[in-house]
């Protein structure tokens, strides 16, 4: 299963982001979307997630065309830099949110959320509210909330920007192994370099265009 991007272009106001060459991303790999601040990394991720309408081109996952699907039906999870945890829900409820809107029974939701919270070493936070946890913990919860969906595409917008080096390495490792094990396409937008042993490909975003680099 490959994620294919062909001739995409997105426009926000006067800023236009266009794709130079066709890109085919293999499954189970981590891709680093790199570029300077303001180069359009977030625009690309938001476009792939379905929040910005593509002016032209297509996004295909295997044989399914995602280009015109609304965000909620794409099965593409987006993780924001600021964690964006829902303040009225506990950590556990935040993590279970996506499963709840899908209508999964409570028992199944709890089993899956407990497992992922344990994997990310935040089980003890389950009953706390977002205001009661630290920034690093919030990022892990945010990652757990998207990862639990087991969607084929996971997009992370500057997820490690405010994290300590050790935590960053830990989360990168976890993502790398999960992507490999479950066959996810993980695109990480970051202006800081990622661990080169974990990154399979790079997409360079600069001067209003993006293309695959080695």
């Amino acid at each position: 299963m490959a994620l294919n991007l062909n001739g995409l272009s997105y426009q926000i106001g006067s800023f236009c982001l266009t794709q130079k060459d066709p890109i085919s991303l293999p499954k189970g790999k981590m891709i680093w979307v790199r570029g300077a601040s303001g180069s359009g990394k977030s625009t690309l991720l938001q476009g792939l997630a379905g929040f910005i309408v593509a002016k032209s081109g297509s996004v295909q996952l295997d044989s399914v065309d995602l280009t015109h699907l609304p965000a909620e039906r794409r099965r593409v999870a987006l993780v924001f830099q600021e964690a964006a945890l829902f303040p009225h829900l506990t950590v556990e409820e935040n993590v279970e949110y996506g499963l709840r809107v899908l209508g999964l029974p409570r028992h199944d939701r709890q089993t899956r959320s407990q497992r992922i919270l344990k994997d990310l070493e935040i089980s003890e936070l389950a009953n706390r509210y977002p205001q009661e946890i630290s920034g690093g913990q919030a990022h892990r919860v945010s990652l757990a909330r998207s990862a639990i969906m087991d969607y084929p595409v996971l997009l992370l917008d500057e997820p490690f920007a405010a994290l300590q080096v050790s935590l960053r390495a830990q989360l990168t490792d976890w993502l790398f192994h999960e992507a490999e094990r479950k066959g996810w396409h993980v695109l990480v937008a970051s202006h800081d370099p990622l661990d080169s042993t974990r990154v399979a490909h790079q997409i360079l975003v600069e001067n209003g265009s993006f293309s695959m680099t080695n």
Partner: protein, 535 residues
Amino acid sequence: MEAKRPIISPKTLSVLLSAAVLFPVFVYPLGRFIFQDGTSAWSNEGLWEWFSDHGLVDILVFTYSQAILSTLLSAGLGIWVAVLITENSKVWWARLLWSFSQVGFSLPAILYVLAYLSVWGRSGVIGSWLLGSFQEFNPYGWTGILVAHTFFNFPVFVRIVGLALLERNQQEEKAALSLGASRWIVFRTMTLRKGWAAIRESSALSFLYCSSSFLVVLLLGGGPRFTTIEVAIYESIKMNFDVGAASLLAGCHLLVFSLLYLSLSPSKRDVNRFSGEERMKLITFRPSIRRIHTVLMLFVVMMIAGLPLLTLVASILPHWNQLPWALIGWATSITVCLAVVSGVIATILSFCVAYLGYTTSSLKVRRMISLLSSLPVGISTILSSAALWHAYPRVVDHFAFSFFAIAVLQAIGSLPLLNRIFEVAFSRIAKSWRWTARSLGASEWQLLLTLEVPLMARSFLLALVWGVAFSLGEVGCVLVFLSDHMTTLGLEVFRMMGRYDFVGANVIGVWLLALMMVLYAVFARLEDEVQWRST
């Protein structure tokens, strides 16, 4: 596993619900009233007759000149109070004034008229003395109208300008000071510029409110020289039975209101969160001058607001044992039922309208929604009631129909205020929350029910309390629809004033004030919690 597709989207349901309430009760009657019932008045001859004989020009000139003067006075006092509150936000009197600004803004007009007359009226505490000393003193006319409008509108400035000053980011101002700019330059070039949008917004609101003022002008105007458009409409319908004239006046007012609204409507303010840092002084004064300045401001507020309300309460103390409990009980039960029904309708309606504005991406459509939801600021309940009465004359024959007509019209009257509560609540929902929820598979309905509504729970309660408070003392609709054997507290005060029974009016007025105070207490508590959650 995929979520089921809904039959109807929340946006469509909001459109349908809003249209179902607004079209038959507000838009259609008003349109018919202006364009159909007054056809003769809109002809060339009709217009000429009105311009030459009926003093339309005088009415228009008085309406807008009193609105301009009232706005200027309210702006002067309101900005003064807002600046002092900002600088002394931890002092007791500043907190008291901040809380009071809520009360002043929404107190029923009839209550303030009573309170004003109990101090400044011909037999009032100070008014009688002034009349003895200065023969020409007249509490009615310009004096009464301007004082009452200032009372109702200076809190608008306190709230909006005060909040803009409290929430402004002071880092830039501190940076400018550290670069050698004087406090005056910082105030002029940065602080004032940041507060300008708020001053513009509150001026627009105040002007629009004053230009459609009804009860204050009716009760304190004191003669045909002091007739605003709304009073003229009421008189045309209730006394002269001249629908054409009323529709002409309504059309003129609606036209001026729409033009003014579109040119004065506020641009979006940049709202920062409370930083919790020590507030900088806006203008530097010597401590002694600052103290005099504060005392003077408190004295003016006391004379306009505190003293009249306290005197009103004190005036009924000797009459405690003569309270007409049967009448109070009967009027209270109808008033409260009406207020609760109206509050619920207002909350649902304003949520639907705010939701439409929130989910619409087109700026033009958003502006149109904003204009429509603000129309009740410029159209008093007396005009909307008169229009409804003309469109459906048989409504008054049945108590249930009249009751619901009043409730819905009062709900529409409070729409601008409640809509604003929901607009603020929606603006506090981060885009990243919505997008995250959608990327996790939430449909529009799920987004609404699992994220937006729970996050806005307090705002719903807040809107409900405001909706109820608005309805409690409203008289305009009740005056048109309620039959002689039915009454509300506000209407009873109005009737007693008409019979010069000021003792009875004061007693029922204080009872109404007590009910309002209970609501304000609930409101203050809710507002604190909403503030806490948003920070």
